[in-house]
């Protein structure tokens, strides 16, 4: 089975966020980049499926500037076989449909049986790239898979619904499936894996500039609508204040 995993490099949750001078995004030079956390689960699931079937190929696919090769290497070090880097020079695209079209043109001749992706990215959080690509390539799609039952004969996934409900869905191959976080325990790359990753192929393709359909115009600090009392003092005074709030405001006793 030939499996592609869509991976994105995003600004880490611990990173400093300084809004850029034109407010269009945050300053990249002060940011630290990591693999989009949900994508770790997608990589792990792809590796598990390949190991279970006993043959096939896992290909890491990522769009972005040169820096994204860091997360591509991470995927290769975990055990993926090769990678496709759809390189962006200059403007980094945020329109999901444009990104999907660019990735689709890079993937269409590969004829993947399965495309896995994280449920959404931690940066723009549009949550649709995997499904868009599935549609553009004429594949079956499913989202928020929390368990998979995939072998040579069938693609079956357990979808998470809302409020604690689940549903098994059987999909005709080929399929694009987004993976819910928590589906597995992502492995760490081994030292051998890290060394081996250096010899694995990363095919670089230039990104296509499809016509933009939506635009992320600016970012800003959220205005809080609520009156919040900030308690930031020494330990004893903090605890005293919380006790007082629980007693006289919330009236827990």
């Amino acid at each position: 089975m030939k499996i592609a995993v869509l991976v994105k490099q995003v600004i880490g949750s611990e990173s400093a966020l300084e809004i850029s001078d034109d407010s269009s995004w945050v300053k990249e030079k002060n940011a630290s980049f990591v693999m989009n956390p949900p994508d770790n689960y997608a990589i792990e699931e792809a590796l598990i499926i390949k190991e279970k079937i006993g043959e096939g190929e896992v290909v890491i696919v990522s769009q972005g500037p040169a820096r994204v090769q860091k997360v591509i290497r991470e995927g290769l070090a975990k055990g993926a076989d090769r990678a496709i880097h759809v390189e962006e020079n200059g403007q980094i695209e945020t329109d999901p449909l444009s990104i999907a079209k660019s990735l689709t043109s890079a993937l269409k001749d590969e004829n993947f049986d399965l495309i896995l992706s994280g449920l959404q990215s931690d940066d723009t959080g549009m949550g649709q790239t995997g499904v868009l690509i599935g549609e553009l390539l004429g594949m079956s799609t499913a989202t928020l898979a929390i368990e998979t039952d995939i072998d040579r004969e069938q693609i079956k996934v357990k979808r998470e619904l809302e409020s604690g409900w689940f549903q098994w869905v059987k999909l005709k191959a080929p399929a694009s499936v987004s993976i819910q976080s928590g589906i597995n325990q992502p492995r760490y790359p081994s030292l051998k894996g890290i060394m081996g990753a250096k010899r694995k192929e990363i095919k670089v393709i230039q990104s296509q500039n499809a016509e933009k359909k939506q635009s992320l115009d600016k970012v800003f600090v959220p205005q809080t609508s609520k009156e919040t009392e900030i308690i930031e003092t020494d330990l004893n005074s903090t605890v005293d204040r919380i006790v007082e709030i629980l007693k006289s405001e919330v009236k827990v006793f």
Binding site: I11, S13, L17, I19, L97, D122, D123, T124, G125, M126, G127, Q128, V131, L132, E135, S140, A142, T143, L144, R159, E160, L161, E162, G164, F166, Q167, W168, V169, K170, K172, Q180, S181, G182, K212, K213, Q214, S215, L216, D217, K218, V219, F220, V221, P222, T224, K226, E227, T228, I231, E232, T238, V239, D240, I242, V243, I245, L246, V250, V252, F253
Partner: protein, 318 residues
Amino acid sequence: MMNILVVVEDNRGSMHRMSKEAIAGAQKIGGNITALVIGANADAIADQLSSIALENTLVVKHELVSSYNSDGYTEVVKQVIQSINPSIIIIGHTYQTRDFMPRVSARLDIPFIPDIIGLEQDAYTKQVLNSKLNSSVSSLSDMKILSFQSACFSAEDMLTGSSSSQNFDVDLDPSMVRSSSEEPFQESAAEVDLESAELIVSVGRGIEKEDNIPIAFTLAEVLGAEVSASRPVIDSGWLPSFRQIGSSGQNVSPKLYFAMGISGAIQHVVGMKGSKNIIAVNKDPDAPIFEIADYAVVGDLLEIVPKLIEALKTEKDL
């Protein structure tokens, strides 16, 4: 007047609460609003819609979409859009929306702006970067799909009126549906009733490790509260899934929500922001949970909470 299409979700026989909010949003934007209901329960939901201020309701009943499937819904919504040519397609930002609406976007080559929490004219506000910043997004196309996050609009603001419904014939072929779905099910019966709990102590990733979970239970015991958690704690296997609050878990509105080490991602916040008093303890002064907290305690919960437990015990003994 502009045509607006609202796609209404069937939540086991009745209208999904987020569909009501989507209708309230469409009414606020203003236009000729058509509602679309699909599936075996469509007539019952159309009946609910008959007392709401809408232009009309379209009912789609076809054996290939009697229950939800992504292939069938994508094609139905596409055909309805092509027939009534709306400027805006509005839907609640539910799991089902996330499952099929991107396909409508790709099939018709129109933008899908998801997870909207506010709007001003044609600029849509959406959270980015782990809910730490907001962004303003706009459409570059004449036709657009918008999905509203929970509580962007209030279902109580939905205007009543009267409207009629009519059947809409769709052209579906069995070859279009490439998936088969089993019946939805619930995994484990909940051992606690979080939705009726008065006081809740909730744990997030900031608890750091499983060994620290008992701290939450001790605090809960002293307060007489129930314990819940955010997604990362459930995913780590530290607490069972019936304790999860948020879009994939329970919605609660207790008298007290004591958030320990919860960052406040939107998926969590939608499940608890109706709480009367929110006390949040977090090391990160920029944690988004503080935006909705009544009391923002900046500090290390592993120092503060054990000390708080001792103080509360002393207080109770007095």
